[in-house]
């Protein structure tokens, strides 16, 4: 008798095999493109020392899962008490780079595709365990703008290959915004340390009127300053027009540096072959985090803007000063893959297919031919064709139902008569058709 009801844990998303296959395909596209740009794989430990996490956790502190042994009797296990699960991949990157500083080549380019854990209330689209797919380029002391410019090209490659419909990478530079706030004498923070950047970040969502109200009432901007800021945030034009318009504005040194950086980044983005309509300047992009200092990125699926940004990031000046006495500036992005895939399924943007990677299944029609079935399977596999042999003697109906349930595209039937004739029957489940051919023809057909 079963003793435990196998309930799911809310927020710890698990996929069915047919969903997991889609996830794996997306991961492979992401990895392929990260590697095409020369990023090295990295996996960090699931756990960090609590003090490492707490040094950079900010408002995530309350979401951190600590680890402790269920039974404390084994006194030999020492550091179980002060370690906790990572809540992102940036803190582990910072700690890893600091720890291995002497062994790494800088600029350090790494990709990292791992799960992170956040003990918050699980709800639609918000998980407690989820994948982040990150790349970062980390410089030692300094890092030029060319790395900022490659990032949109990588995002473009990945989202093109994923075929999730039209998308747009939106780029801004925090110096443009910070310079503007400085010039307009709008404080960077207000109240008990809330960031004005968060008001800007939410402007698109809440609308102009409400944003202006918050800038004036909360952040203490004058009416004129709020209007001037909103004029910039909402400016929409082509890249060249936007850069020309910005260049004509005399909003001080920081602002102008931001404009120059934006211009240089957009130039290289163009050289890298990213089409203009897929990568635009959006002066309203702020990214809430204080951490960012230069270029910032968001990515929107144009037919599903309600997903929010599906790939975001930016440039930062200081990755790891909590852990090492070095200035390590960098630039990076993150794709929240679990959340993205769940949204794609929920909205019918992506459909599931087979629940098995098998391209073909060989049916057991006659126990006397078992060796032939397995020999044929071995031959198919040696040509790289993913093959399973139905693993038991069973009625052919049952075997066929199994193939249909898993949506395996092809099935091979062979009995004594066919074997004598040197042929087998290949069933195409999607076309609902069958054809009889010899083994070499079958191999060629399935390889094509």
């Amino acid at each position: 008798m079963p003793i435990i009801d196998p309930l799911p844990i809310s927020g710890f998303k698990e996929f069915l095999p047919e969903e997991q296959i889609v996830l794996e395909r997306m991961k492979r596209i992401i990895v392929k493109n990260f590697e095409l740009y020369g990023f090295s794989p990295l996996e960090s430990a699931a756990a960090e020392r609590e003090e490492v996490l707490l040094a950079k956790s900010g408002e995530n502190t309350k979401l951190i899962y600590g680890l402790r042994l269920l039974e404390r009797s084994d006194q030999d296990v020492g550091d179980g008490k002060d370690i906790a699960l990572r809540f992102d991949l940036t803190v582990p990157l910072a700690r890893y780079v600091a720890q291995n500083y002497g062994k790494l080549a800088f600029p350090f380019r790494r990709y990292q595709i791992q799960k992170v854990w956040r003990g918050e209330r699980a709800q639609k689209g918000r998980f407690r365990e989820f994948y982040q797919c990150d790349i970062d380029v980390v410089g030692d002391g300094k890092l030029g703008l060319l790395s900022d410019a490659e990032i949109p090209a990588i995002i473009y490659s990945i989202f093109s290959e994923m075929q999730l419909g039209p998308f747009q990478i939106r780029i801004n530079n925090r110096r443009v915004l910070n310079g503007l706030l400085e010039y307009l004498k709008i404080p960077l923070s207000y109240g008990d340390g809330q960031s004005t950047m968060n008001i800007i970040d939410k402007a698109e969502k809440v609308g102009i009127e409400k944003t202006k109200g918050m800038l004036v009432d909360l952040a203490g901007a004058t009416n004129e300053a709020a209007d001037a800021l909103i004029e910039v945030l909402t400016f929409k034009a082509s890249t060249d027009e936007t850069l020309k318009w910005l260049s004509a504005k005399l909003y001080g040194e920081l602002f102008e540096q931001g404009v120059r950086e934006l211009s240089e980044v957009m130039n290289v983005v163009r050289v890298l072959g990213v089409p203009e309509e897929s990568c635009v300047i959006d002066l309203g992009i702020a990214r809430g985090l204080d951490y960012y200092t230069g270029t910032v990125y968001e990515t929107t699926l144009l037919e599903n803007p309600q997903f929010g940004s599906v790939c975001s990031g930016g440039r930062y000046d200081d990755l790891a000063s909590n852990y090492i006495d070095r200035k390590l500036p960098g630039v990076g992005i993150s794709i929240g893959l679990t959340r993205l895939l769940a949204a794609l399924f929920d909205n019918g943007v992506v459909e599931t297919g087979p629940s098995s990677p098998s391209q073909v299944i060989i049916f057991q029609m006659d126990p006397a031919l078992r060796s032939d079935y397995f020999a044929l399977a071995a031959q198919l596999r040696s040509s790289g064709i993913k093959t399973e042999v139905y693993p038991e003697d069973a009625k052919i109906d049952k075997q066929s139902k199994y193939a249909v349930k898993k949506k395996i595209p092809y099935g091979i039937y062979m009995d004594q008569k066919r074997k004598g004739d040197g042929v087998c029957t290949l069933r195409d489940y999607r076309a609902d058709s069958e054809s009889t051919m010899n083994f070499n023809e079958t191999l060629t057909y399935l390889s094509s």
Copy 2:
């Protein structure tokens, strides 16, 4: 000033990029072969409910890491208190199959490559966080022997492709051993429930004399019974001779069933093309776990037997009766990849190579040619060549040192003169040679 010393956590192994690249290569070989045999990918949540783990944890109970929020103030986060990290991939498989029983096609074939956590004392070759790479075929009610026979073929494909030197898959059947104990009236357990199978399991390590002593003194075997058992455990001959020798023994029904199963499995293994010298019957293989009931497997690297078994598993009758009122027999194996790779590095069986996947790096020789460098990079990448552009203006010496440190195989130099001639210089770092060629030749050369 840094405030936290970025120390590693003992037992939570992290690799350097050049090591991680080897790990990724091994994972890809494993995944490729699992999929060639039609196993579907599965990832389970890192955490399980404590009661799910405790129902099947046995002696692992004391190693389980529980999760709790560092700050308990957020009362909305409910089930943080009763969840814990998985310590293997079998318990999650059992719970997953029970939970999704109605949605899965049986026999259910899944592979799962994920980390598991065990809070034990970390020591050489024993980690607190490590990869397991598992496959299982799970039947609904019953599962034929053909699945047992495919397993050695999969192990053979994987370890051949990994090129870790000669290896041997060693196969036995628990019914042979259990039948023999029954026939010889040697109790299956002794003392406070210790398993006689553990004495058998350790026989190769401790030697015949000591094993006999334990069988007689601890397990209560007669001298004659111990001798008869040891005769079987230590019998070494070819597969055919072993099966013939076993068939002549009249040790009762259970024993004879075990011999028939072993015979059938070995026949199909041969059909699947596994060479005789790579897959042998070893009647001394027991696998300690009570869980196994039929075929059992171990895999030894013949030049590094001190690693122990690098891929083990077996047949079981009851996967999930703790969670579902169904008999779900299955067969599976596991590769402990973190432990294996660490041992391979430590023993010099595998060497690290580049710390980057980049096949080529394009150097920045002249800022005026930046567009050309990026355009060339884009062209190389569109041919699938992993390419990085040195991301900053820097002295060419510094750029070259970076390429050498990362062991990137090729570098491309282009300046105004070369550009005018329509050529670039390709440096081969491994051959320590350079040649000048046009872009198409470069592309062809790097693609080959």
